[in-house]
């Protein structure tokens, strides 16, 4: 029997829940507390729990480093791209009303906020994971008396 069986079983149960809660915070952020930043941190926490239980190498298989590099820049580009898109539609930078100019319920604002928050989510998740991978991949050489 492998050691830490309980931890592994519980982690397997919790990780999807944490990720689901992260997405809830992201997409429910318009109505309750939360938004892109918080959701990104929670999603990163799900991956970090996986890394803590199954090792950073396993986590790197699940969320490869290339995803992090791409995702981090994609988030910023998505945010900036939303602003540029509003330029092309004839508005000011990040003026979302041009997405749906004749809507009575500010649908353009909703779409704009959705895209922008998605960009924040991408960047924050990947930045947090980048920091965790960078620190977590290093094994210190410490003698026992230091502990």
């Amino acid at each position: 029997m492998s050691p830490h069986l309980i931890l592994k079983v519980v982690a397997k149960m919790l990780i999807p829940l944490i990720a689901l809660f992260g997405f809830y915070v992201q997409f429910h952020g318009d109505f309750g507390p939360g938004g892109g930043f918080q959701a990104g941190v929670i999603l990163a926490a799900a991956v970090i729990l996986y890394a803590l239980i199954f090792g950073v190498d396993a986590a790197k298989k699940a969320v490869p480093e290339s995803w992090i590099r791409i995702g981090m820049s994609f988030g910023v580009l998505l945010y900036g791209g939303t602003g540029v898109a509003t330029w092309f539609l004839g508005g000011n930078f990040l003026d979302y009303t041009v997405f749906a100019p004749h809507s009575t319920h500010a649908a353009g604002q909703h779409w704009g906020i959705f895209a922008v928050e998605l960009g924040v989510l991408c960047t924050v998740t990947c930045a947090m994971l980048a920091i965790f991978y960078a620190f977590g991949s290093r094994i210190p050489e410490l003698s026992d008396e230091d502990w």
Binding site: S2, P3, K8, F21, L52, I53, G136, S137
Partner: protein, 115 residues
């Protein structure tokens, strides 16, 4: 009746605060590190309960979202601290912990001998 419920929740919140203060005492005085980890974990549980009760006191159910988040984050933090304290590294898989720890130790021994 509403007044009774309000007082009930307020009292519960107050007692949770007292329990948190007691945990803080153990956290500050804990002789071993495990006592401190235990105190932090129990403190987190009590904070979750405090937030649940308190969001009823102030009549905003948003506090419960934060309580959910806390119960998750508290678990992650506890596991992280324990893992650090036991294996002294982040990137070891618990599945192969016994093997990896052996390799780490032999690696250390080799380094020491080289010096």
């Amino acid at each position: 009746m509403a007044y009774f419920l309000e007082m009930l929740n307020l009292g519960a919140a107050l007692f949770m605060l007292i329990a948190m203060a007691l945990m803080l005492g153990r956290l500050l005085s804990g002789p071993t590190l495990y006592d401190r980890i235990l105190a932090v974990n129990a403190f987190g549980t009590k904070t979750v309960l405090f937030l649940c009760v308190f969001s009823f006191v102030i009549g905003r159910p948003d506090g419960i979202d934060i309580a959910i988040l806390y119960s998750l984050m508290n678990f992650i933090a506890t596991i992280a601290v324990l893992k650090f304290f036991r294996y002294r590294a982040l990137d070891i898989s618990l599945e192969r912990a016994h093997i990896d720890k052996a390799t780490v130790k032999t690696g250390r021994a080799k380094r020491g001998s080289r010096k």
